[in-house]
Amino acid sequence: MRLRRAGLILLLLLPGLGLILVLIGSVIVMAFGQSVGYFALTGESGFSWEHWREQLDGRLLWRSFQYSAYIATTSSILSVLLAYPIAMWLRRPFRGSLFAGALLKAPLLVPGLVAAFLFINVISFHGFFNELMVWLGIIDRPIRMQNDRNGYGVIFLQVWKNMPFALLLLTGSVQAISDDVLNAARDMGAGSIARFRKVILPLTVPAMQAALVIIFIGAAGDFSFQAVAGPTQVNSMAQLMVRLKGEFGGYHEAGVVAVLLMALALFGSVALAGLTRFAVRAGMKV
């Protein structure tokens, strides 16, 4: 009977979870395998570190890695930092709070490529922003802002698109804290900053970690924002991978980039989440 039930559950999991595991598993095996010389589409297939050596020796890969790590870290932290005060503001309903929430979450409905297009329209040489600054007399002539060297445009886009997501997670978590807890803290003499640091932050750590992890992974693997609004002298990891695969048909080289990108997404996001917990704990003790 128990065996039959286990069999039934296994059978039920097969089309959904089974398909996910088979396809995503094969994709990961493919990326690893091709990075070490297997599954060659042309020529000989066989184990070799050559593609790793070749990529790790070049400067291109390390610049991309650093750049993607920088964009992912900055974007995820900024999104969460911006979302916190807004989530606190929307904690208790007031007149207009639903409207405010809807306005803030609107960017979630805009696809990435469209967001990138809207953004470069506003900051382009004769775009709205430049013309406004000239009209206000802040600058004499339009300045070039598109594809800036530091990737500020990409970070802005990431925050624009992801802050609402962080807000969504944080609002739910902040609203779940009961007034009793906060009132008790107040009665015991905690000021608003102490209440935030010692009550709200620790209770919302899981939501904050989830937001950081998801935004970090998305931003580390970004292609669209980078291709449209990013600096032209450096590639993001996803862009480099597509370039290696497309320009030279180099699946093996792309495999090396893919493995490093997955490592960045995994370890980077876990490190960020761990550091957050550590920082919040340290904040409680001070």
């Binding site: 089309p15 503001w89 696809p111 329209n121 291709a227 893919a258």
Partner: protein
């Protein structure tokens, strides 16, 4: 200052910020899409000198937009229905059974969301090449199904969890056939979730870029890939504006429907107890 006054001031500030980050960008996209080709919109004109729908006509007649729309809007419903069918058994197991390793199952089903989209796209392309499979529509469809299964599984397992065992037992005791039980007990609890899953997968499939771009290149275009081509080497601002609006507007309308559905999916209503 009273809390009410502070809130009012903050809302005014927020509206100001939203004008900057939503209204102006979209207004500019709309304006760019209706600039008449005969007269360019250039510095220092604040508004286009002549407006017409000629750009919309041009994009419709002279680019691959028609094909892209047909592709996207055939792909998305196929993906939505297939994903729903694939997700239902897994969601049923998660929602209705307790078994060891259930948490692991739930975590593993999120796998497609944590592997970067372009890694999946590039190495799925390589996998299909290795297997000798070249059908672009089928490849993208398979990729989309796997990519969006986590959403469908999550939404439907919550719905299955809302189906009340006492109602199922009562229906059975009263002699209801399996179909009658499904119709009277399961369906009312499942309906909002099923519709929500269909809509969310549909929207995600329409908007998805990485797989459509890598697996579809060079000749299978969807709306996002055609938008990317207008944003890339041959940057045509007005065409990009037209395609952006075509991509955004239907999806926003669908999302509003989705929000209502998700609101209506509360346990009290589904179980018939307020």
């Amino acid at each position: 200052m009273r809390a009410g006054t502070i809130n009012r001031i903050l809302i005014v500030v927020l509206i100001g910020v939203c004008v900057l980050w939503l209204v102006i960008p979209f207004a500019m996209a709309i304006l760019w899409s209706i600039v008449d080709p005969s007269q360019a919109w250039s510095y220092p004109d604040l508004f286009p000198a002549r407006v017409s729908f000629q750009r919309w006509v041009d994009v419709w007649q002279n680019t691959a937009l028609k094909d892209a729309l047909v592709n996207s809007y055939t792909l998305a419903p196929s993906v939505a229905i297939t994903t729903l069918l694939l997700a239902t058994p897994t969601a049923y197991a998660i929602g209705r059974f307790e078994f060891p390793g259930k948490t692991a199952v739930q975590v593993l089903s999120l796998l497609p969301l944590v592997v970067p989209g372009f890694v999946i796209a590039v190495f799925m392309a390589s996998l299909l090449l290795n297997l000798g499979l070249y059908n672009r529509f089928a490849s993208i469809m398979l990729g989309h199904c796997v990519l969006f299964l986590p959403y469908a599984i999550r939404i439907l397992s919550v719905s299955f969890g809302l189906v009340r065992q006492d109602l199922i037992d009562a229906a059975r005791d009263l002699g209801a056939s399996p179909w009658a039980r499904f119709h009277a007990v399961y369906w009312p609890a499942l309906k909002p979730g099923v519709l929500a899953a269909l809509i969310i997968v549909f929207i995600q499939s329409i908007e998805e870029f990485a797989l459509a771009f890598i697996l579809g290149s060079p000749d299978f275009t969807t709306v996002p890939t055609i938008l990317y081509s207008f944003l890339g080497f041959n940057f045509v601002r007005s065409n990009a504006a037209v395609v952006s609006l075509i991509l955004v507007v239907p999806n926003v309308a669908l999302m509003l429907v989705l929000e209502r559905l998700l609101k209506s999916a509360n346990p009290a209503m589904v179980s018939g107890k307020g």
